[in-house]
């Protein structure tokens, strides 16, 4: 492999950067190492995924009327949903995920929500990530608190992505890693910087974390262009990053907890139905999740992936062929460790009288129940610690039987 010279970097960066200028923002994937338990990946879909299109309840008598031009047709119809259980379907842009469902590896959850009941993306994401009941006042994320509560502390964290999202921030050290378009710095400079940072706790710790994770990534890279800057824009780039993340997790000393960020789900206008804006994003997500599975290889059989969003969208299509901020949403639990092939939903119905505040899908499942079930049954977090990770969640008891025992 030819290492780029330093003079090349700006030009190379220009190709990478401007090549993806029209594409989505990069995801960040954040990791934390955890011996023993199977890997956990949390995928946050920022912007509020429309669960009524991703997982259309085609069997609900009010679905097609409420959704009009953006309704997904039922299974068997032209461009229809991929059937799940005779009532719910999966958006036709996600055939790979549907294969996982049929393989018993995908659990679909519907009408789910965090503790948040307003309609701000940013507060909604804060609640989803801080695990509390309110958007502010909790500076750490629930995954970081979970790491702190697990037996055998001293666990290290890492982010694939330049910075660490709130869900993984907190007292337990968590690093970050992303593919770089730039040549590596020489060891002599890093030694001098270590000295320069000896009085600076933050920068000193960050430098140590970054150095270790660079080493891990170099050992576990998939080879074919995954190291350095992935080529191509948009989905191709995301797939490369997800696959590399899978390799890193699968390494014997690799991290065991990852967080993947994906933006761009805020479909206020021109959302589309079986084809169009949202379909394009869902198709990309379908491929990115499959790339993660490929990267994990045999480790996939022990993996759980939680895919969630800050809230849902309005039941009724709005005036611009899209949907506004809502409440109840869809979520997914995916992976070889998951007892899948089923839909978990206490379906409230879509008729106006069944909606939350007359406009949104009423939430009937608490996302914290899912998360607590995963932490307890997948990562082995003691029951007594769950309340520390999710303060104020007494009403949301840990869900059972999400995973193979």
């Amino acid at each position: 492999m030819n290492m780029p010279t330093r003079r090349d970097f700006l030009a190379a960066g220009a190709q990478v950067g401007l090549g993806v200028v029209l594409a989505q923002a990069l995801p960040g994937i954040s990791f934390a190492a955890l011996p023993g338990a199977g890997p956990l990946v949390v995928v946050i879909l920022r912007g509020a995924l429309d669960g009524l299109s991703a997982v259309p309840p085609y069997g609900d008598p009010d679905y097609h009327n409420a959704r009009g031009p953006i309704a997904i047709a039922g299974p068997g119809e032209s461009k229809g949903a991929l059937d799940l259980d005779g009532f719910f379907g999966l958006h036709p842009a996600m055939p790979l995920l549907h294969e996982r469902y049929r393989a018993g590896e995908l659990l679909v959850v519907h009408a789910a929500a965090s503790a948040y009941r307003e309609r701000s993306h940013f507060d909604g994401q804060n609640v989803l990530e801080n695990g509390g009941e309110r958007p502010s006042g909790t500076a750490s994320g629930w995954l970081n608190r979970a790491l702190g509560a697990l037996p055998g502390r001293g666990v290290e964290g890492l982010a694939l992505g330049q910075n660490v999202p709130l869900i993984l921030r907190g007292p337990v050290p968590v690093g970050s890693w992303a593919p770089s378009a730039l040549p590596e710095a020489e060891p002599d400079l890093l030694t001098r910087l270590r000295d320069l940072y000896s009085d600076d706790a933050t920068l000193g710790a960050r430098l140590e974390e970054a150095t270790r994770m660079d080493a891990l990534a170099s050992d576990e890279g998939s080879g074919g262009g995954a190291m350095g800057a992935p080529k191509g824009g948009g989905i191709g780039r995301l797939k490369t990053i997800a696959e590399t993340a899978g390799h890193m997790i699968a390494a014997p000393d690799g991290p065991r907890i990852a967080v993947l960020d994906a933006q761009g789900w805020d479909t206020h206008a021109g959302e589309g139905a079986a084809e169009g804006q949202l379909a394009g994003r869902l198709g990309g997500l379908d491929q990115v999740l499959d790339a993660l599975r490929t990267g994990l290889d045999t480790e996939w059989s022990r993996t759980a992936v939680l895919i969630c969003t800050e809230f849902g969208r309005t039941v009724q299509v709005n005036g611009t062929g899209g949907t506004d901020h809502g409440t109840g949403a869809a979520a997914f639990l995916l992976g070889g460790a998951v007892r899948g092939g089923r839909v978990l939903a206490d379906w409230p119905g879509l008729a106006a009288r069944h909606r939350y505040e007359g406009r949104d899908l009423k939430p009937t499942t608490d996302l914290r129940s899912l998360a607590k079930g995963i932490l307890r049954d997948h990562l082995g977090l003691p029951e007594t610690k769950l309340a520390e990770v999710f303060p104020g969640s007494e009403q949301a008891s840990a869900a059972r039987d999400l995973l193979h025992s």
């Binding site: 220009a14 200028v21 920022r46 309609r119 694939l160 970050s176 910087l193 970054a210």
Partner: protein, 476 residues
């Protein structure tokens, strides 16, 4: 107790500006506070770097025309599969035409930030542009995000907030970013006409879109805890139905293509209530009156005060400073220079210990300023922002870029800065003396540990990288 004047000059240029250029510490030394505020006393002149950039309306009109072409081509392709090979892919045409416009705007913005002698003003441009963020990952904004900053933000950051607010919310970039152009009242002329025809065919094409109304309340004015309800969002959305753009498809074709248009036919007639106040029907004036009241609202004053204090002084701003700025805002009817003056004259803003971790763009600007480097060609210049994680005008959401250290200080982000600094230092070679650059950029803020590291570096180039990555250069 205030530090000595050399230290205050370094704070003025680094904390309030984009970092000292050579000679700037001397210029600021006589009156550091005055240095900060002086540039706002002059009437606004567009920087020369903006000359020749196309107006936002023209760029949006190009986008609309290209999108219409694309739709027509898709129809043609559907008719004739062979056309698929002959025709250029329509998405490419948008990129080819509009990406160079984006590059030109971003390069101009960067050149201004690096060369400006009025970098407090430039920092305010970035601050307000981010407060009213639009993001280029929505294709319609690729070429208009920069235009919003240049046309609505730059001329209005030294007036009253209401003027800035109105300029932004009626700019075609904001209208289209937050999807208001086709939002229509259920009882508007257009909706009633549509209802008389086939109902099913127009479902999803008539009705409100509440995106712009919600973000004005949540992000631009009151703040998320500012006391509004869902009913206020819906009511306000009805008020601003008709705030649209010219040159759209079909019935939306009238008006200057790409420019702001008030479309009477989409507007929901009648009085509305927002935040407990009743607004009589008045076409576009109804919405302007709501904006005026929002700008004067105490929650807006506190929201803006908090953001300014966070940007300049601390991730968790001192309540005393927030109160002070809130009072200044309310006492002066939202006159922004009065708020800036209240900030700059607050002693706590002049502590010599660094208060903020630099965001990537601040780091890049300050590095090129400290080294007195001419910006490279636009594409490699902009690649720097890409690799450090802060591409111009692409925060990905209307909330804008976050403004706390925890959002920017990831381990990998630090390593990217190191690698970038090495690459820049290699380009500089021995042409710059790092100790001299430390004197000129940081003055007394450069620590003895950093000075020792520069003195003992293996090469002049390595010393430059060490300076840029020193703890005091990473902060302000």
């Amino acid at each position: 107790m205030l530090a000595d004047r050399a230290t205050l000059a370094a704070i003025a240029t680094n904390r309030f500006g984009f970092g000292a250029r050579p000679g700037e510490l001397d210029a600021a030394r006589a009156d550091p506070q005055g240095w900060v505020l002086e540039t706002l006393r002059r009437p606004y002149q567009p920087p020369a770097e903006l000359t020749g950039l196309a107006p936002g309306a023209e760029l949006l009109a190009s986008f609309l025309a290209l999108r219409a072409d694309r739709a027509a081509q898709r129809k043609a392709i559907a008719r004739d599969a062979a056309a698929n090979n002959a025709a250029k892919r329509p998405g490419d045409a948008v990129r080819e035409r509009l990406l160079p416009q984006y590059v030109a705007q971003a390069a101009a913005r960067t050149r201004i930030a690096i060369g400006s002698e009025h970098s407090f003003r430039e920092r305010l441009v970035h601050f307000w542009s981010n407060h009213f963020a639009v993001s280029i990952d929505k294709p319609i904004c690729l070429a208009t995000a920069g235009a919003l900053e240049n046309e609505a933000v730059r001329p209005h950051l030294d007036g009253r907030f209401e003027q800035l607010l109105v300029a932004v919310e009626t700019h075609p970039a904001m209208i289209t970013y937050l999807d208001n152009q086709r939002s229509m009242g259920p009882n508007s002329q257009f909706s009633l006409r549509a209802a008389r025809r086939a109902e099913r065919a127009t479902q999803g094409r008539t009705g409100l879109n509440e995106n712009l109304a919600r973000e004005i309340l949540e992000l631009h004015t009151l703040g998320v805890d500012g006391g509004y309800t869902q009913a206020d969002v819906t009511g306000f959305a009805a008020v601003i139905t008709g705030w649209s753009i010219g040159g759209g498809e079909g019935r939306f074709g009238s008006g200057e293509p790409g420019g702001f248009v008030f479309r009477e036919a989409l507007h929901e007639p009648g009085a509305r209530t927002v935040l407990g106040r009743r607004y009589a029907e008045g076409d576009m004036a109804q919405g302007l009156t709501v904006l005026r009241d929002l700008a004067a609202h105490p929650a807006t004053a506190r929201h803006l005060a908090t953001k300014l204090a966070r940007h300049f002084v601390a991730d968790e701003p001192p309540p005393g400073l927030v109160d002070r700025l809130t009072r200044a805002y309310l006492a002066h009817d939202g006159h922004l220079p009065s708020v800036y003056a209240a900030l700059v004259s607050w002693d706590g803003a002049w502590q010599s210990a660094p208060l903020k971790f630099k965001q990537p763009c601040e780091f890049i600007y300050s590095a090129l300023r400290a080294l007195d480097l001419a910006p490279p060609e636009p594409k490699p210049l902009l690649a720097s922002f890409e690799v450090l994680g802060q591409r111009h005008w692409s925060p990905g959401s209307p909330a804008g870029w976050p403004d706390r250290q925890a959002d920017w200080d990831g381990a990998d982000a630090l390593m990217q800065r190191i690698e970038w600094s090495v690459a820049l230092a290699d380009r500089v070679g021995e042409a710059r003396s790092a100790p001299e650059a430390a004197d000129a950029a940081l003055g007394p803020l450069a620590s003895s540990r950093t000075r020792a590291a520069l003195a003992s570096a293996a090469s002049g180039s390595q010393a430059v990288a060490l300076l840029l990555m020193s703890p005091e250069f990473q902060r302000r």
